[in-house]
């Protein structure tokens, strides 16, 4: 095998590895869902859920703008109760924001964490928003939240 072929093979493996890398290092007890749903989804046996997605919006905004828009929509339009918010860094040490809410889904109290990071598209006409969501019934949420917070630092 020529040197060029060897290098190409290594490059292909590296690219494949990068492409196949999970967008988040799952906390213990979470398993990745094997179906072909949108984004990257994982779940625990007690129905705690993590959902990682990249969503596009043509509006060019920074992370503060999008975090503020989320908070306003959740609190003022959906009636969520804001429990807390703060900064978070991902695997690449990029700044993001997290927001934590409490709400009711079908009459059951559900706590919800959302973290966002923002990428500007290469042509500069919009944003790719990296969204990590974690939701569970209140008791389950309380048990899992610390491990999920820790996992946010592994988001790619």
């Amino acid at each position: 095998m020529s040197k060029l072929t060897k290098n190409l093979s290594l490059l292909a493996v590296a690219v494949t590895a990068i492409a196949c890398a999970t967008p988040i290092q799952l906390p213990a007890a979470f398993v990745e869902l094997g179906d072909s749903g949108e984004g990257y989804r994982a779940i625990t046996s007690d129905d705690a859920r993590i959902w990682v997605r990249e969503l596009y919006d043509p509006t060019p905004g920074n992370v503060e703008f999008w975090a503020g828009s989320l908070e306003r929509d959740f609190v003022q339009e959906r009636g969520y109760e804001l429990l807390g918010k703060g900064d978070v860094k991902n695997f690449a040490n990029r700044d993001g924001r997290w927001l934590e809410f409490s709400t009711n889904v079908r009459g059951v109290r559900v706590d919800y964490l959302v973290a966002v990071w923002v990428d500007t598209t290469w042509f500069g006409s919009g944003n790719w928003i990296h969204v990590v969501e974690f939701a569970a019934n209140h008791d389950v949420y309380s048990e899992r939240i610390e491990s999920v917070r820790a996992a946010l630092a592994t988001v790619r």
């Binding site: 749903g37 929509d73 959906r78 969520y80 969501e133 974690f134």
Partner: protein, 307 residues
């Protein structure tokens, strides 16, 4: 004596006969009137006493019998009830309200004693006293409901009342009966009246009947106590004691009811609801979807239901 002319005697005799004819009916009328109008004030009270005494034994022990209902318009049963009532220690809650109408066995007795005195009030027809439980509710529209409710509660305290229940700006208060009308008017005057109602429940009959029952029960109990002292056989003693227990329970139950009625009569209940003029209708605003599409795709509902 001067002799009269023979012709004059028949004429004079005839004139006396006419005079006698005229005087006789007049004397009859005077004597009848004397037997009726000439009696003392006591005699008129005593006459009513006789009626009531004939109906109730206990009334005969009550010197005030009949004084309460002097108009005689009520039935005998009512008069009997009132006599029981007056002689009962448990119904002293009514004494104050009746003091002007001559009754009671202690303090209010003074008025009844006046029935035999020269006091003109004693001979005046006493009024009937009713046991009335007043209650009402008023709903008013005001500029500032909370302020209006607070101001009303301050007045209630001044009247010697108290707050029984409050839900927002709707309050239920208990106030002394004599201030009920003032309280009702105070709420009405606070703003625009949206609705109002009030009523007076007459519990006089029940109160009087309970008085009779408790009096009878007490006397029966006293008799049983005497019988118990004489009883020799164990079986008799047990039977009497059983009956004594039953009577005691009955007395306590009636006394409790009397106490409750007395409280209800003395303290009126008023519900006042203050409603703000500018109070917005409680219609939940429909959710406005975000102008940013991706935001509409995230959220707790999306994770829990569209996962």
């Amino acid at each position: 004596m001067t002799s009269l002319p023979a012709t004059f005697l028949p004429a004079a005799f005839s004139g006396m006969r006419i005079l006698a004819f005229l005087l006789l009916p007049l004397l009859s009328l005077v004597s009848c009137a004397g037997s009726h109008y000439g009696s003392s004030p006591e005699s008129s009270v005593a006459a009513l006493d006789d009626v009531t005494n004939g109906l109730v034994d206990s009334a005969s022990r009550n010197p005030l019998a009949g004084a309460f209902f002097s108009d005689g318009g009520d039935s005998d049963v009512r008069a009997r009830s009132e006599n029981y009532f007056l002689g009962d220690e448990d119904v002293d809650g009514l004494v104050d309200s009746r003091s002007s109408s001559a009754s009671g066995s202690s303090g209010a007795l003074a008025d009844s004693n006046r029935a035999g005195s020269d006091d003109p009030r004693a001979s005046a027809a006493p009024k009937k006293v009713r046991m009335l439980i007043y209650s009402g509710q008023v709903r008013v529209e005001v500029a500032r409901a909370e302020d209006a409710a607070k101001q009303f509660l301050v007045k209630v305290e001044e009247w010697g009342g108290y707050l029984q229940q409050q839900t927002g700006t709707a309050v239920t208060v208990r106030i002394p009966a004599e201030h009920f009308d003032a309280a009702f008017a105070a709420v009405r005057d606070a703003g625009r009246v949206l609705s109002e109602s009030r009523k007076a429940k007459d519990v006089t009959e029940e109160f009087v009947d309970l008085g009779i029952r408790v009096d009878n029960a007490r006397r029966s109990r006293d008799r049983l106590v005497e019988i118990l002292k004489l009883a020799k056989e164990v079986e008799d003693i047990l039977r009497v004691e059983k009956e004594l227990r039953r009577l005691t329970e009955e007395i306590e139950r009636i006394e409790g009811r009397l106490k409750f009625l007395r409280d209800q009569v003395s303290m009126s209940t008023l519900q006042a609801q203050f409603q703000s003029v500018a109070e917005a209708p409680k219609i939940r605003r429909k959710r406005q979807r975000s102008r940013f599409g991706w935001i509409n795709r995230v959220g707790a509902n999306a994770v829990m239901e569209g996962f």
